[in-house]
Symmetry: C2
Subunit: 360 residues, 2 copies
């Protein structure tokens, strides 16, 4: 019971680093002696000390014979910082609880082995589900060289993301919008199609801009993004990435880059749209481990059809429009070939219903 409590605290600490560590994972660590926490830390920023190294540094000589709780397997290789296994052994730690192994082939299992060989007691898999969840972007990034993609859509009860005039603000209520603002801080980037960018001119920023600001990704095959948009003009425009598949428009590309935006050139698919799988691969190379996609219908349709969505967040608003803009465009399936999903337990968020699920 106490072991779980200390690991839960380490998970809580890890969350503090959210947004600042990518493409590294978020990690939390707690040093405990005689059932008392003597120090705690989290990985604060990419390139800086790892959580366990920082916690040990804070503990100083008190760490001797103590127990370490760390959400992710300690690294065993020299990276931007020295190997954490060394720091643990040198600090005289006696027992190590690890949330989950590191899928990074440079580490996977090696960290555990080094600690065992040095005579420490090592327990792996404490609150493993929670520790995997904590870094699902990082894990997917390492394993598939693609970012984790969550697709969020707010639909009317009859399935529309906007009314027939294109108006979508606000389909959902205050609570759902708050939830989305909280979510934005959990991802390396927020993504929309250029159609949505043009129609709504969203800033795609979290409400509170005092902390971490995610990247903004605009999928814009033909590089038609207007200069007037917020994502092109605001103070955070250096965090805007435009993904294009057209290799023309040299001048537009240069102009965007001059304005500090990043332009990622990728391949087109058979229909002339951006090849989203390739685009995700390139975005992963840019260090993006997780994406929160907020539509529109064309991009949502393409993503689910290509099987590129890891999580769906669908808000069902208590409204019926009769007609409007489709939530998932660009394809047509018969019932026996429908795209299959699976839902978790649903819940109410204010007047709206939140469905969280995944492709099956």
């Amino acid at each position: 019971m106490n072991d779980e409590k200390f690991m839960a605290r380490a998970i809580e600490l890890a969350q503090e680093g959210r947004g600042f560590t990518s493409p590294n994972p978020v990690v939390g660590a707690v040093v405990v002696k005689d059932d008392k926490v003597i120090s705690e830390a989290y990985h604060e920023k990419f390139g800086e000390l790892h959580a366990e190294a920082l916690a040990l540094k804070k503990a100083g000589p008190a760490a001797r014979d103590a127990t370490l709780y760390v959400t992710l397997e300690p690294c065993s290789h020299q990276g931007k910082t020295p190997p954490c296994t060394e720091a643990i052994i040198q600090a005289g730690i006696q027992k190590v609880f690890i949330g989950t192994r590191d899928p990074n082939p440079l580490v996977n299992g090696k960290g555990v082995t080094q600690l065992l060989e040095a005579g420490l007691d090592v327990f792996t898999g404490l609150l493993e589900t929670e520790c995997l969840e904590l870094n699902r972007g990082f894990f997917k990034h390492i394993r598939s060289k693609r970012p984790w993609v969550t697709l969020k859509l707010a639909l009317s009860t009859d399935g529309y993301i906007a009314d027939s005039q294109g108006k979508s603000q606000w389909i959902t209520g205050q609570e759902a919008r708050e939830f989305v603002h909280q979510q934005r801080k959990q991802y390396d980037a927020i993504m929309v199609g250029v159609g949505t960018a043009m129609k709504d001119d969203p800033s795609l920023l979290p409400k509170d801009t005092s902390g971490y600001i995610p990247n903004r990704i605009i999928i814009d095959e033909a590089l038609t993004i207007p200069y007037r948009l917020k994502v092109v003009n605001d103070d955070y425009r250096n965090k805007t990435i435009v993904v294009a598949s057209s290799h023309e428009k040299e001048k537009k590309r240069e102009e965007l880059q001059k304005r500090k935006l990043k332009v990622v050139q990728t391949e087109a698919d058979d229909f002339g749209w951006v090849n989203l799988d390739k685009a995700l691969e390139q975005l992963a190379k840019e260090g993006i481990t997780s994406i929160y996609c907020e539509g529109g219908g064309q991009l949502a349709g393409s993503l689910v059809q290509a099987g590129l969505v890891d999580e769906l967040q669908i808000f069902i608003a208590p409204k019926i429009l009769g007609e409007g803009i489709f939530g998932f465009s660009g394809f047509m399936k018969t019932l026996d070939k429908a795209i299959q999903l699976e839902w978790d337990e649903p819940r109410k968020l204010g007047p709206d219903i939140l469905l969280i699920g995944r492709l099956k």
Copy 2:
């Protein structure tokens, strides 16, 4: 606590009569002495003894000085059966707990008054919400001369009731279909539009046909229903009501009537469809107090737009179709004029999500 327990039992008993009492309400009654049930009964069938009269008959002389729990205010007028208040007073009942007053102007409050005047202790409103819920069709029927209408639709996550080929079997899973079969037994009639009747040729029967069989209502403005359909041909065709607004087609009407179907002639609305409000009024006169509408999109759209839906049951299936048949057809609202709903807590039923709510 015990009072609630006995009333809850009376509610449970009342449910046994479901389907057989309309346009009367379902009613349950329990006679209790020294904290022990000495008899119980429910209103079994329209025209037969009321629940409390039957319970007292069963109890016989033992009812003297006992307490009666009854879900609905006892009647005080001579109807098909003698007034229940008289039976209660003559049986020597001392105390009466009543779930809710009877909205029927022939009874409302008069039953309670008679019992009080006879010197009995009377408590009204025990588990009132549950007792109102028990007879929501009856209450609506009495108050508004219209049946209670529940609209059930099974939608794909993107809002379609069928794929683009019109196929809708089965959008939802086994559990949702079981739920619908259970629901069918709770209503006086199951209703669909003629389009759905033609496309799916549904029997609209509960799975288990050994007990109560609800009426089947087909909204069929131009009386185009084909003779080949199950609802026209099966053993229960005398429980099929076709609602038409066309006053032509005398021969078709006669032919249907010859086959034992009922044809209700009503008015057309401005667009030539059945005027649904008028239709409901006429169906109420036929003794229909509650309707379970199962689509299609045109009828669903017309009902919600006209504000004629008392409860919505929307299943969200874990499927995306991209294109298909709309769940709510025939109108187009801007976001600020959308039809507003309100949802209860959602729940999962097998792989599907069940949303229960109402128009706001």
